[in-house]
Every structure is written in C-alpha cells, then in structure tokens.
Amino acid sequence: MSEDESPPLDLRPEPPCSSSSAVDSTPNKSRNCISSSTASQTFPDHVLENVLENVLQFLDSRCDRNAASLVCKLWWKVEALTRSEVFIGNCYALSPARLTQRFKRVKSLVLKGKPRFADFNLMPPDWGANFAPWVSTMAKAYPWLEKVDLKRIFVTDDDLALVAESFPGFKELILVCCEGFGTSGIAIVANKCRKLKVLDLIESEVTDDEVDWISCFPEDVTCLESLAFDCVEAPINFKALEGLVGRSPFLKKLRLNRFVSLEELHRLLLGAPQLTSLGTGSFSHDNEAHHQSEQEPDYAAAFLACKSVVCLSGFRELMPEYLPAIFPVCANLTSLNFSYANISPDMFKPIIHKCHKLQVFWALDSICDEGLQAVAATCKELRELRIFPFDPREDSEGPVSELGLQAISEGCRKLESILYFCQRMTNAAVIAMSENCPELTVFRLCIMGRHRPDHVTGKPMDEGFGAIVKNCKKLTRLAVSGLLTDQAFRYMGEYGKLIRTLSVAFAGDSDMALRHVLEGCPRLQKLEIRDSPFGDVALRSGMHRYYNMRFVWMSACSLSKGCCKDVARAMPNLVVEVIGSDDDDDNRDYVETLYMYRSLDGPRKDAPKFPLLREKAPCISDRSCSEVEQAWVCLQYQRRYSSLEPLRGGTGGVKAISNYGLVLEGMRRAKARGFSDVSH
C-alpha cells in the first residue's frame, strides 16, 4: 500500500526501467531511427537532439518508456507493442478503448479510481470508478492478462466472474480499498483461476454472501503464493483453509481474518513453516474453547518453527496474555503491524525490545509516548512509522504527543515515511524531526483537533512544517494540520520543490496560501484540500499547472461555480466535476466539492444521475460539451514544457515536434474541428 512514485507523466503508463539504459541508448537509436524512418528524414539531427535533451532531462527513471515512445513514430509503435505493465493513476484520465488501442500486449494493469478523500465520506457512494468497462474491454483485447491491481475501484461480482472466465492465465488479483463485491465473486475467482498465485484483498469491503469460498479452490496442488483476506468480515471454513494451505507449497504470505482463532492459527503454522508474511487473525480464543481443562497448545513453539516470518500483522481481537508467543520471531521481523491491537506500553515494550531489525512499524497510539521511546531505543533501522488513533475523535485524550515524535526523530535516523496522529504537538519536535531525519520522503502529521497551535508556545505550526519542507530535501509527500497561516504555505512554495502529493485541511488564511503552492511546487501531482479559505483567485492562479497534475480536490473551500466554469472552458482537457452543490437559490454559486483532473477522453458518461451535479455545470452533466472544444494537443509534450522556463527560440521547438505521430493525430483532429494550428 505504499504511495506510488509515478512522475508527472501519468497518462503514459510506466514500467520499472532503469534510468541508465534509456539515456545511453537513445542518442544512438535516434540516429538509427532517422536513417530508417522516412517521416523523419527531413529532420535536421540537431533539432531532434535538442528536443530530446530538453525532454529527457526532466524525466525520472520510471519514465524511460514514455520517453522512448516520444522519440519518433517507429519508437512509439514499438514501445506500445512491448509494454506489458500499464499503470493508470486515474481511471477517468482515459477510456478503456484508448488503452487497448495503443497497447496491444498488456499482461498487467494497475488502476486507481476514487481520490483518497472518498475514504472519509466526502464523496457520494456511487460516484463511479467502476471496473466494469475496463474488464469488459480487456476481456476481448487481452486474453493473456495475468495481473490486475485495483485501488479504490468499484468491482462487482460480475466483474470478478468475467475476470475468471476471460483470462485463462490469470495469476494475480490485488484489490485495495475496493468495494462492490462479495464472497461469491471471490469464490468464482478461486474456483476458475487455476493459475492463481496472488489473491490479496486489502482493506476492502467484502459483503458476506454466506459462501464457502475457501472450499472453491481446486482440489489439487495450487500455485498460491499470497493469500490475504484479513478484511473479509465473514466466517470461513477452517478445515478447508487448512487443506488449502496444506496443498499450497509455494505459499509465502497468508493474512487471516478475525474469524480464525489462536488455536486454528497454531495448526496452520505447524503446517506452513515456510511462511514469510503472516496475518495472525484474531489472536484470541473462542469462548467455547476448553483450554482450561486441556493442555494449551504451545504457541511459542509454533512461532519458533516459523523461522522465515519477517512480516507480522493481524492481532484483530488480541488477548494480550498470549502476545509473548511471538517472541521467537521478533528478532527477524522487518515489518510489524499492531494497528488493530489496543496494546498498552507495558505489554508492548518487551516485544519491541527484541525487534532490532524492524523497518516498518504500524501501531495504535495506545502504546503511548513511552512505547514510542522504546521503538526509538531499539529500532535503529526503522524506515516507516504509522501511529493511528485508537479513539479517532477530535476531542479524544490523545496518548501520544511531541515527546514521542521527538524520541523517534532522535532514535530512528533512517526514517523515510511517517504518519502520526496526535492531539498535541510542538514546532520544536517537528523541527527536530526535520533536522534528525534527512531521509524523509513522506511526512504526514495529523493533529486531530482542528486549528490547534503549538501547545507549548501557542503559536501556529508554520515553523515546524516550514522546517520539514526546508530540511527534508527528498520530501515528496506532505500532509499538514494544526493551526497554519499563509506563512506555512509560503514555505511550501519556496522549498517544497519535490512535493508530489499535498493534503491540506482546515489551514491557511487566504488565497495567497494556495497560490504559493500552485506557483511554487513544480512537481505537484495530487492536491487535496478541504475546509480551507481558498477561493477563485487561488484556483485561477494554478491554471498553468492543472494539465500537469493528476487531480485537484477542493471541498468546503470558497470557490464559486462561475470560476469553475471558466476554468473548464479555458482548459478543454480538464474534466471539472462539481459535486454536491445545492440547487438552492441562496447557495447557487457555492461549490461544495470540486474534483478536477486531466482526461484524454473528456467528461465521463457514468456520472451519478441524481441531482447532486448541477445541470449547468461544465462537466459531466453537460453531455454535449460543445462549448468545451476537444482540441487535442500533444499533452505529453505540453506537459513537459508548461512547467519549464519558456524555450529559447520561441515556438520553434513546437513545430519540430509536430511531425511526431502522436501530434500528427492531434493536429488532424484539431484541424477537422476548424482550428488553424495547434500550439501550446
């Protein structure tokens, strides 16, 4: 579930290529290409080289393929034929048909749907992000498909049935934060996908269809390597599970749900000592277990036998007296997730003191500052820390504070990613973290009480977050909270040059805050803002950026419909969704939620039908969108350049690109619609 690192070119799918190969090889290849391709024979070499240099210097390593595809028509074609994994960061950025038209041999799809704020009830439940059109298109186009990885997508049982029926070689199904399906859909996948290696259901809502889906796996030896069903809120047939694990020799990752008891876990462990990643299920006894009279199983021995376990999670209904059973595996653990277990510091400390190799640690704030101090003392290799609130209310007590943060910063110098919920914080502790942990790429601090200042000095949290953006030079993701003035955003705009994801809530004083960010953060991709006083002026100030971003979310801000319409009109390839605003006269111009994103295929056709979207809104409900011309410019090229300094030599560079296949098509279409020329 780590945040993806895709660079700005999100419409172009990205595979994991190393950076060196493309940069070294392109100059040679481009020369070869010129000689063989008739279309580019008229090109002076130096123009191509010049453009290539300009484009390449702004691309990250993962963009190698995208870069290669832009070299010339032949390169584009060859790259499209050979790309096997496609990443789509926003399912509405393009249509399924476009995907299958361009890429012909896709084996793996990673698709993301709703924006993150949908997790917090800020979006209508049937807003969209349906898997159906994708699966039906791919069923015809990619019969060899092997992997589907979905996040925040609405998947139905029928979709899963279609997957199971259409892709005989299907190997991996990963559903993260998805919903819309139930155990019957899972049963079909289990039953029909004979080559299934990975079935990971992670933090998804799975309805209980009263189906024994574990029994639906085929009877013979399976290919299963990973089976994660900890989010499935339904009892399972343990005997069938035991049998399944027994005939799955390649199984390395097993995440049980809370309907698996400690005794059952014990039996499974004895039969599967090769596991590397274990979700323990409930970690408690059934009520009717007769463990008082009979001898208790030796749980510690079972764990001792699991020498390979490096990743431990679960503990859904923890009985703390049994926690010492995991002592034998602690020394090997690199990842420990206690975030569903209400553990006190006294129970926690003996365990953490054994976890010297720990790199990833998730827990509830019930471990208190004391527990965090213990983590700091022991876990010198810690890379990622997440502390969740046991009581997620604004006015809860909050057992962790700046003390815990300070301790972690002093003890865990290699820290790269932190998510920290608390009720009290100080600038000093945040500044300390910025100075002690230079490797930070993700800093998400959630002070749960809105608008809370530094509780010692009473000042806003500006200096703390300012220090983070200033000192953490690798920072790519930032979430802010507490009392923040425009100054904090000034810092972000000035120093946050690598920030890709920014989450803002209840912060800032004026439009200037947002302007600082929009004008100052060139790598910004995902911007999510709620309940902050940013209005039309700020929105307009970012128009030069929106094509370079995956999405912008602004809810309960100070935007007007008129401005949103203006933006939509000015930016034809931006889909502007105005969600949830009233038809009421008094509030006619007020925008409750703005969600906008670039799209190659215009507004979507599957928006919810009831009157949450205004009739006249310049987006989904206006189906013809005739006033929003679909002038298609080479988006990739435009994106590269609109965030840079103006090219020397004016538009000469644009014309040089114009013979590339991608732009030819764009020009043809634009000219068919009456545009005389295509420029940016």
Binding site: L122, E205, F506, G535
Partner: protein, 222 residues
C-alpha cells in the same frame, strides 16, 4: 408514492432544520453522504445541527470546536469499524456495507447445489422475462456440469408455474417481506420487486409445498 420522501438531497435527516448558509466555508455544514454512509457521524451531527449552522457563518477560520465534522479526523471507515468491539459492531458493519445486507437494492440468488450465490438488482429488470433471461445466463456459468444451460428452463413464465411443480426441473422461489417463501411469478411484477428479499432456485420436487399458497393467492386475485 411519495417521491419527495425518497428524493436524495443534502439535508440532515430531519429535513427541515437544514439551514442554508451563504458563506463559503462549510465547516460543520457537511451534510448528505454522512447520513447514508456513516451512521455514527450523522447521529452526532444531528443533535448539534442547529448549533453548528449558526456558529460557522461568520468566521471560517474558527469553527465550533465541539461539533464533529464529516471525515475528520481522516481515519478510514474500514479502520474505524475494525476498532469497534467485534460483538457490538453489527450496526457499524451494516452502515459500512460490510455486513450481509451489502448493496442497496440487490437480492441474493442461491441455487440448490451450486457452490456460491449471485446477487441481482431487481430494479434493473422490467418483467419476469427479463429476470429469467438474466438469471439463466448468470446461473449457467456455474462450473458444476449438471447445472448447465439445459438444466434451466424458462421458469419465469407465469402460466408454466403449475406445470413445473410436477417436474424435477428447477423452480424459482423467493422470500418475501414477511419471511414466507413463495413461488416466483405469483404476483404482478411491481409488487414482486417490492416484496422480494431473496431468491432461491430450488428443485421442482421440493417446491411442492409452496403450491397451495400460490394457488390461494391466485384465487384471491381472481
């Protein structure tokens, strides 16, 4: 039918007490989805309703401190539900859709002997024929060989119901609002979709017990 009552809007559940505020910041003014998705929040904010609305107006930077706001703190529903005590989490599971009820409007379709259920949204179909076609298509995809398409016949045809009862073919039955199991095809379609809670495709021989009720209802209608 009172469509106004079923109309989706952004008012608080009480309806009338929602105050429209002209100001930009809507801290505390959050409505709508919280009612449908997160019962915990809606109960709380309902009580605070009028108080919130008044306070938020003037100063967006200083919201009321006691009112709970939708989606804040930003902890996923999934996590919130899991943290609730398992035994008492029935209500929250239902509200998050994680329980048995699941998606609004869908009914479960089970078939005797088949390993798993399907779900259908009855509102998507206009007649028994539509439903029959859809079910045949859906259920014929089960891997069990003996339940292939040949095993399914056009059982939704009202006139054929009585013929089927004497055969070993499959018969669709449904559980209505009162918890009774009835034969499908009995009542007019609109009434059927209102009252059907669950569908079960059973063997004809087992459906004999349902016949008398069906006959009685037919008699009452005619």
């Amino acid at each position: 039918m009172n469509l106004k009552e079923t109309e989706l809007s952004l008012g608080l559940p009480g309806g009338a007490q929602a105050v429209e505020t002209p100001t930009k910041s809507s801290v505390g003014n959050k409505r709508g989805f919280s009612e449908t998705v997160d019962l915990k929040f809606s109960l709380h904010s309902n009580k605070q309703g009028p108080v919130e609305e008044k306070i938020l107006l003037k100063d967006p930077a200083k919201p009321p401190t006691k009112a709970q706001v939708v989606g804040w703190p930003p902890v996923r529903n999934y996590r919130k539900n899991v943290m609730a005590q398992p035994k008492s989490s029935e209500g929250e599971e239902a509200s998050s859709g994680g329980g048995g009820g699941g998606i609004v409007g869908f009914v479960k379709v089970s078939m005797d002997g088949a390993p798993y259920l399907r779900k259908v949204d009855l509102k998507m179909y206009k007649s028994y024929k539509d439903l029959s076609d859809a079910l045949t298509k859906m259920l014929s995809s089960f891997t069990m060989g003996s339940y292939g398409a040949q095993g399914m016949i056009n059982f939704m045809n009202e006139s054929k119901v009585m013929d089927l009862l004497n055969s070993s073919e499959y018969v669709p039955s449904y559980e209505d609002k009162d918890g009774d199991w009835m034969l499908v095809g009995d009542v007019p379609w609109p009434m059927f979709i209102e009252s059907c809670k669950r569908l079960r495709i059973m063997k004809g021989s087992e459906a004999i017990g349902l016949a008398p009720r069906a006959m009685e209802k037919c008699k009452n209608r005619s």
